[in-house]
Amino acid sequence: MADREERRFAEVPRESVKLMSESAGVELSDELAALLAEDVCYRLREATQSSSQFMRHAKRRKLTVEDFNRALRWSNVEAIAGYGAQDALPFRPIKEGELFFVEDREINLVELALATNIPKGCAETMVRVNVSYLDGKGNLEPQGTVPSAVQTLSEDLLKYYQQVTRAILGEDPHLMKVALLDLQSNSKMAALLPYFVYVISGVKSVSHDLEQLNRLLHMVKSLVQNPYLYLGSYVRSLVSSVMYCILEPLAASINPLNDHWTLRDYAALLLSHIFWTHGDLVSGLYHQILLSLQKVLSDPVRPLCSHYGAVVGLHALGWKAVERVLYPHLPAYWSNLQAVLDDYSVSNAQVKADGHKVYGAILVAVERLLKMKALSLSLPAERGFGAQPGSGGVAGFRVSSPGLSPPPEPLSEAALGIASHLQGPGGAGTPWEDWTPVPLPAMYCELYSFFGDSLAVRLSTGPSLGGCPPSPPGPAANPDTARKMPQLTANLNVSPRQDGSPRPEPAPPTLARSSSSSSIQRRNSSSRPGQRSVGPSRDVFPKARFPPPQAGPPAFSFLIGGRQTGRRCQGRRFQTSFSPAPPPSSAPPRTYAHKLPVIGRVGKPLRRWTCSHYSLHLPL
C-alpha cells in the first residue's frame, strides 16, 4: 500500500484502520488492515460519487454533508451525524506534532437557551420580481451599486441602519458614541453587515476628511468587536479598508497640520486586532497583508507617510512580521530614508519631519523585534545560553514585557525555527520560501549598524545589565542626560561592534559641528579599518560584552545614527550626538578601534560619513 505511486484519490492509510479497530478493541493484522483500508477507500469514493447526484439535483455547486449522508442512507449505511452545519468547518493543525482536527467548539447550551438575545432566525422565504432586461436590452438597474436587496430587509433593520450610519458619520460625538456602542453589542443586525461593510469601504471617498476616516475606523472596530457577528469573508473587505487608512497617502495628509499619523497608528492597531481575532476566517490573510505592506515599503515612489503606515502595520502585526518583512528590507530602505534626513534644505523640512516619523517607527518596531526575539530564545534555552557571557544582556530581556508571547523555540545554531510559525494559512507559494531566520546576534549587529546606540541603549537597560563591568562611569558622570534619556546610559562598552567605530565618532562632531564635513569623512574612513562582510560571525556578540578595559573614557555623546555597512547602496551615517563634555581627544577610541580585531570590514564602496547634529526630538 505504501508503495502506491498514484494518488488519484484520498486514501485511508492502514494505520488509521488499525487505530480504529484498536479503539474498537479488535486487533488487526497488517494485511487485513491494508485490505480493509483499500475497501474503505473504495466505499468512500462510491458514496462520494453517488452523493454528487444529490447535489446536482438540488441545483447546487457545493456538495454538502447532507448530500453525502443521503448517499449513505440510500446505500443502507448509517449516516454521519453532527456535521450538518451549512458553513465549512475549520480544519486546524495542532502546532505540536502532525495532528489535524476539525474545530468543534463547545457550546454552552444553558447559556444559549437562556440567552435573551435570541437570534431572530431566518427571514421569511419570499419571491421578488424585477424586470431585469427590457426587450432583451440593457440592464435597468446598474450592477454593483448599493445592493438593491436593501428593500428586502425588514423596516426595522432599515431604520436601524439609517440611524446608525447617520449617527456615526454625523456631527454629534455623543450620538456617535452611543451608536458605536450599540453596533458593538447588537445581536440582531447580522443582516446589515454587508451594508455596513459597504459603508466602510467608502473610506476611499473621504480620504480628505480625517474625522470621517476616524469614524469609519471606529465603525470597523465596533463591528469587529461585536460578538454576535460572523464576519466571514467580509473580513477581507474590512481589512482592505483599514489597510487603505494605514497605507494610502491620504488627501488629508497634505496638510501637515492634520494628524494623520494617529489615524495610521489607530488603523494599524485595528488591523492587528482584526487579524488576531478574525484572521482565521480568511485563509492567507496574513500573507496578503504582509505582501501588501512589503510592497508599499519597497516602493520608493510612495510618500513617507505610506512607509510609516507600512512600518506601524508590521509592528502591529507582531515582531515576527517585522522580522520577516521589515528587517530584511531595512538595508535597502535605509539609504532612501537617510537621503531624506540628510537634506537640510528648507523645502525639505516637512519631508524630513516625516522621515523622522518613519525612523522612529522603524526603531520602535525593530526594538521590539529584538526584545521579543531574545525573549523567545532565552526562555527555553536557559542552560545553554545562560552559561555564555552574553547571557547578561539576554537575560535582561526576559524581564521585559512578554508582548505577544512568542512560542518557545529551541535554540539551535542552524535554524531558529521561527519561520514555521510565520507560515500563515495558505502560506505556501509566497515569495518568502527562501527566507531563513537570522540569528539574534547577527540581527542585533546589523540593526546596531543602522541605529547605533539609540538601539543598543534601549536593549541593554535591563536590570541584569549591571553584570557588565566596564560601564559604570557613564550615568554617574552625566546624570542629567541620564535622566532625560534614561536609556542612554553608558552603553558604550556594551556595543556589540568590536571595532567600536561608532563610538568614538560622536565626540568630534559635536566639537566640529561646524567644521567641514570632509575632515569628518576622513576620520570616518580611518576609523573603519575595514568593511564588515555581509554575514557577521556569530561570536561577535559575546565578545562584545567584554570590551577591552582600555576602552578609554566614556564618551557622553551618543550616536543615534545608523550607518550603511556592507551594502551596495550608498550608505550614509546620520547621527545625533549630544554631549555635555566631549572627551578631550578622539584618539583613544580610535586606537581602541584599531586594536580590536577586524571583523569582516571590507572597504568596498567609499562611504561618506558625515556627522550631523540632530535634535533629540526624535519620535521615539
Binding site: R45, E66, V129
Partner: protein, 768 residues
Amino acid sequence: AWYILSHINLIEKQRETKGPPNGQVDLEVEKKEIKTETSNDGSGNNNANSSSPGSTSLGATSKSPTGPAEDQQTLLAVLQFLKRNKLNESVDILRREAGLSVEIDDSPGSASGGAGSGGASNSTVDGGDTNSLLSRVSIAIPAAPAVTAAPVPPKVTASGGEDQPDVNVVLSAYSQQGDPDLYPLYYNGLKKFIESVLDCHRAELSQVFYPLFVHMYLELVYNNHEVEAKQFFEKFSGDQECYYAEDLRILSGMTKKEHMKGNETMLDFRTSKFVLRISRDSYQLLKRHLQERQNNQIWNIIQEHLYIDIFDGMPRSKSQIDAMSGSLAGEAKRDANKTKVFYGLLKEPEIEVPLDDEDEEAENEEGKPKKKKPKKDSMGSKSKKQDPNAPQQTRIPLPELKDSDKLDKIMNMKEAAKKIRLGSDNLPSICFYTFLNAYQGLTAVDITDDSSLIAGGFADSTVRVWSVTPKKLRRVKSAADLSNIDKESDDVLERIMDEKTASESKILYGHSGPVYGISFSPDRNYLLSSSEDGTVRLWSLQTFTCLVGYKGHNYPVWDTQFSPYGYYFVSGGHDRVARLWATDHYQPLRMFAGHLADVTCTRFHPNSNYVATGSADRTIRLWDVLNGNCVRILTGHKGPIHSLAFSPNGKFMASGATDGRVLLWDIGHGLMIGELKGHTDTIYALRFSRDGEILASGSMDNTVKLWDTLKAFDDVELDDFTAATGHIHLPENSQELLLGSYTTKSTPVIHLHFTRRNLLLAAGAYNP
C-alpha cells in the same frame, strides 16, 4: 493477489478434506455458505439453498457424469490458473488427484463449496476471531464459482440464474480470460493498427477504443489481476475521449472484483452492449485485422460486449462521430429511431370565442384599433387544419374539457392575440423571480401557464406556492361552512373561498425529503411534487392539502410533469424508470424502462402522446404513451441531461446537460440538428417562446441565453441521405445563433417560462 492466494489455498484444503464425497464437512460447508450469503447481500452463489443441505456437492456429483468433458475443461483451466500463479505444488497435487480420479475433481459446485469449507477448516485450526474475519474476507469467494462455471454451458448459469439473476450472470461473462500480461499488447496492437489505417477509417475505428478499453479493464479486474489492471488503466486511459472522463474516474476507483458487484456503472456496461456505428468498409478492415492476428481476446470482446451497427456508405468524419457519441452505452442503434412518431399537434377543440364586449370597449378606450377579429380568425383556421403528422385525436384518451378549461382557453387566445412576435431583432423582456432567504435550498420551480402562480420545491421538504398576481391564495371553506352557502348564487365560486385564509403564499408540508420536481396542472387546480422520499404527491390548490401520494419509485424521484392536457403525469427517478400515471390511479399506467442510469428529467410532448426522458446515462429517450415503447434514443450529450423542452409545434426538442451544451433535435427523424455552445455550467432550464422562434436557456452559470431557433432549424439541410443514415453535418454556428446572454445577480437560473404574451420569466434562488 492476496485474494487469489487465499482462494487457491482454500481450494487446496478443500480438496484435501474432500476424500469422501459427502459428509460432515459438507454440512459445515453449507452452513458457512449460507452465512456468507446472507452477509453478502444476496450476491451469493447460484445453487445454495437452505432447504437442501449439501446441494452443492450433490449438484456437482450429479452434473459430473453428464459432462465429463466439461470437467476436463475446467480442470485444465484450473491447472492453467495455478501454473500462472506459480503454485507448482498445488499443480502437482491437483495433477496427482486428477490422475487418480477425475470424478472427484472440481466442478463449479465443489469449487464454491471449497470456498466455504476453506473458511470452515481454517476455523477449526485458528481461533474463533480469525475465523470470523476470514469468513468475512472470503465473502468474495461465493462469486468465484462463476470463474470456473463459465466454461460450463448455460445450463448451470441458468439454474443459478433463477434466484440470482443479475450480478453473477452478468459478471460471469468476464470469466474468459487470457494472459493478463498480454492485454496491453493486444490493445496496443489494435491501437497501432488503427493508427495506421486510412484517415477515413481511423475515426470510425477509433470508436472501438473506449468500450474495448473498459471491457478489458473490467476483465482484468474481474479476474483479480489488480496490478495489471492498474497498469493497463494507467497506460491507456489517457487515450480515451475526454468526455468519458467521468466514467473513467469511476472505473479507476474499481480495482477489486468485489467492487464490481453493486457498482452501477459497471453493471450498465455489462447489461447493455455498447453500440457503435461503423461503415461496412471500416468494419471489414477491423475484422480482417483481428482475424489475421488471431487476436481472439479482442475479437471475443467485440463479439460479446459490443454491438456494431454496420451501415453502407461513406465512413463518418471525426466530428460527426463526436457529435453523436458520449453516452454510457454508445450510440443508438439506427433501427431504434425508425418508428414513426406523430409529432404533430392535436386539433384544438373548436371553441366559440365570444366577442368580449367589455374587453373590446376597454381596448377602444385605450385608443387601440380593433385588430382583434382577423387575428382570431387566423387562430381558428390554424386549429382547424389537421396536421398530417399529428396522432389521431383519440389515440390517447384525454379528459373532456370542462367549462373552466374552455374559459381558460379563451383567455389564452385573448392573451395570445396580444402576444409579441419575437425574433432575432425583437428580443423578449426578462423578468426575474428571485427567491430570497431560501436558506433551505431551492430545488425546483414551476410557474403556471397563465403565469399567475409560482411554486418552489425546497430541500427542507416543503413546497411553497406564491401568487404573483394581487389575487391572494385562499383556501376553500370547511365542509361545515360550505353547507351554509347558497349554492344557487351566481358568485358561488367566490363564496366557497375562505377569505380569512387569504395570503400571498402557502406552504405545503408532507414530503420527507428534498422536493426535486414540481409541476402545476394546466387547470391550476393541482400541483405535483416529487421528492427524494420516493413519492410523488398531488396537492390541491383549492384546499392546499395533499390529495394523493403516489408510491412506486422506491428511490428518489428526480422529476415529474403534468401532461399538457392534465390528468396524466410522468415521473422519473433514481430507479432508472419513468412512470406514467393518471391522477386517479394510485399505480402507474406505464413504466418506461430502458435507461441505464437515473432518469433525471421528464417532459410531455405537446400532444400528450409521447414522453421524453433525459437521463444520467447521457441519452434522451422518447416513449410512446400508448404502448410504452421507446421510439427514440438520442445520443450526443456528454453529461447527465437536466433539462428538456419541446418546441410548441411539437416538431423539435431541445435538451441541456451538465456539459453546458444545448442540443436541438428533430423528433420526426430522430436526428440531432444543432448544438448550442455557450453556457459554462449545467443547464437547468430550457423553454421555447410561445411561437417557437426563440429558445431560452438558463444555467447554473448565472446566465440566461437566448438562441435563434428559427435560424437553427432553417439552417439544417435534411436531404434524404442524411435522414436515412442519420449522419448529419452540424453547422458550427452557435455564436450566430446566440441572440443574447443575460447575467443574473449571482442567482442560478433554474426555471424559465414564457408568458402568454411572450414575456420571459426566469426564476432562481439568490445565492450570495
